[in-house]
């Protein structure tokens, strides 16, 4: 019994330590934002553009495909069931609340975690193991400015843009799903627009910022936490990705609670 309590306590303490470390890490990244030199800003912009290319542009196809499939399946199934009970007008609520507000941001963030989160964690861990972080510090360069800050900015911009793309594709594909039950374009447009509000747009933007920041911060933190050697790199990637997924779900739940 004592061993069980000790194990629970140990795990809890470890998780608290990670949360504390992450909070310090985030504050440090925020503080670095104001310390960029003129030429440093040019390099940061270059790294940022590259990050957006890898994170957003190269994920456009995947996000489009998954958004189209998810929306088509959800709306086609819902429309068929709701049509039977004469509640087709509720389809707009399903589209906006389930797909646009909840599933879209979640799925987009998961795509970014699986593609770019893993890359960020592996790159940071490799930098650490190869002694490149020490080399940067020895040159008087803050690794947070050079490595972490542009990736956080890039992930925020990318996730927000991909979420907007997801929503647009989902709305179009939702019509295709609804049309399988014989619904007209005008009918679909009226049902969806009557439910969609400006609040949904702001929620999407807010989720884009928080989820994007979470992906870059969690993965960078775990990547830079590597100390032992190359064998620790896969573990760091796993910790970063799993931590980000859990955090995204928790933040999603918090959005529901706060905005209820």
């Amino acid at each position: 019994m004592t061993a069980v309590v000790a194990a629970i306590g140990h795990t809890g303490a470890r998780q608290l330590s990670v949360i504390g470390g992450l909070a310090r890490f985030t504050l440090r990244v925020l503080r670095t934002a104001g310390r960029l030199t003129r030429a440093g800003r040019v390099v940061t912009l270059r790294v940022l553009v590259n990050q957006i290319r890898f994170t957003a542009l190269q994920a456009v196809g995947l996000v489009t495909l998954l958004a189209a499939l998810l929306s088509f399946l959800v709306i086609a199934q819902s429309a068929a069931q709701l049509g039977r009970v004469g509640a087709l007008d509720q389809m707009g609520t399903i589209m906006v609340v389930a797909v646009i507000r909840e599933l879209g941001p979640l799925l987009t963030a998961l795509i970014v975690v699986s593609r770019s989160g893993t890359a960020i964690a592996a790159e940071m861990a490799t930098n650490k193991v190869m002694g490149e972080i020490t080399a940067l510090e020895a040159m008087g360069i803050d690794p947070y400015i050079y490595l972490v800050f542009p990736r956080v900015l890039g992930a925020i911009v990318s996730v927000a843009c991909l979420m907007v793309l997801f929503d647009v594709v989902a709305l179009i594909s939702g019509f295709l799903g609804a049309s399988t039950t014989g619904m007209s374009y005008e009918g679909y447009r009226q049902i969806v627009l009557s439910t969609l509000s400006a609040k949904d747009v702001w929620i999407t933007v807010a989720k884009g910022i928080t989820f994007g920041a979470a992906v870059a911060l969690f993965c960078s933190y775990h990547g830079l936490a590597v100390t032992a050697g190359p064998t620790e790199i896969p573990q760091a990637v796993t910790r970063g990705v799993v931590g980000t997924i859990v955090a995204i779900f928790i933040m999603s739940a918090l959005f529901v609670i706060v905005l209820a």
């Binding site: 030199t37 003129r38 030429a39 440093g40 040019v42 390099v43 790159e123 930098n127 190869m130 002694g131 490149e132 020490t134 080399a135 940067l136 510090e137 020895a138 040159m139 008087g140 360069i141 803050d142 400015i145 050079y146």
Partner: protein, 242 residues
């Protein structure tokens, strides 16, 4: 043209005016500090090329990290321009390091950057200069170290000598007064070693640069290029080679 004073003024304001570039005071280099009689006292003179040699377990390999404040010695003080570097707060430490040049064992180059980008890195992040001025200085260093033809290659695509030359070029990009090189000539030819020393001996303003080289051993052709040789044995410094 880049003028040192314009972008490194903060770094050069730190330190004590007139102090020796580097002082090891009562420093225990070994992992297990024991006898106080086996601690290192060493003052590095201004403008001299000093080689500090010692076996693998002598602790000489850690001296560069102590000088840069990357590690703290188990006992004693390391004073860089009169400042105990290990005691500086993080932000000040980063700024202070901009007046020092450092080439770690191997090369310390960033693998995902080209050689030119590696050389430009300290200029971009540790200075407030425009990109044009940075590019000019990078071109100057690429020419000086005969790297222009390989400037766009990444470290993994070039041989050890080119990597080492690039690392030294990066270390003097900010034209530091004090340069620390760890085992810089391992695996290099006499010609390459000679060339490196000639390039780092003086600052851009023509004044002699203080250079500290730590290594286990130096080739017979390289020794005459040193102004001073210090051999570390049992934690103590002895002038000349045994």
């Amino acid at each position: 043209m880049i003028e040192r004073e314009s972008f490194l003024v903060q770094a050069y304001e730190m330190g004590v005016e007139g102090a020796a570039p580097l002082v090891f005071k009562d420093v225990d280099l070994r992992e297990r500090p024991d006898h106080p009689g086996h601690r290192l006292d060493l003052v590095v003179e201004v403008g001299a090329v000093t080689a500090v040699l010692g076996d693998e377990d002598s602790g000489v390999g850690d001296m560069g990290r102590f000088v840069l404040g990357l590690d703290r010695p188990p006992w004693g003080k390391v004073l860089v321009y009169g400042t105990e570097i290990a005691d500086l707060p993080w932000r000040k430490l980063l700024i202070f390091r901009r007046r020092l040049g450092y080439v770690p064992v191997g090369d310390g180059l960033l693998q995902n950057l080209t050689l030119a980008a590696n050389i430009g890195l300290p200029l971009q992040y540790a200075s407030d200069h425009r990109q044009k001025a940075v590019d000019e200085r990078v071109d100057e260093l690429l020419t000086m170290f005969h790297l222009a033809d390989v400037a766009t290659l990444r470290p993994a695509a070039v041989n050890e000598e080119i990597r080492r030359r690039s690392a030294v070029a990066r270390a003097i990009a900010l034209d530091p007064d004090l340069l620390v090189l760890e085992a810089p000539f391992d695996g290099l030819t006499h010609r390459a070693a000679h060339e490196i020393i000639e390039h780092v001996r003086h600052t851009r303003f023509g004044t002699p640069r203080t250079v500290v080289i730590t290594a286990q051993d130096l080739g017979p052709h390289v020794i005459p290029l040193m102004n001073r040789l210090v051999h570390v044995e049992d934690g103590l410094a002895m002038e000349g080679l045994e």
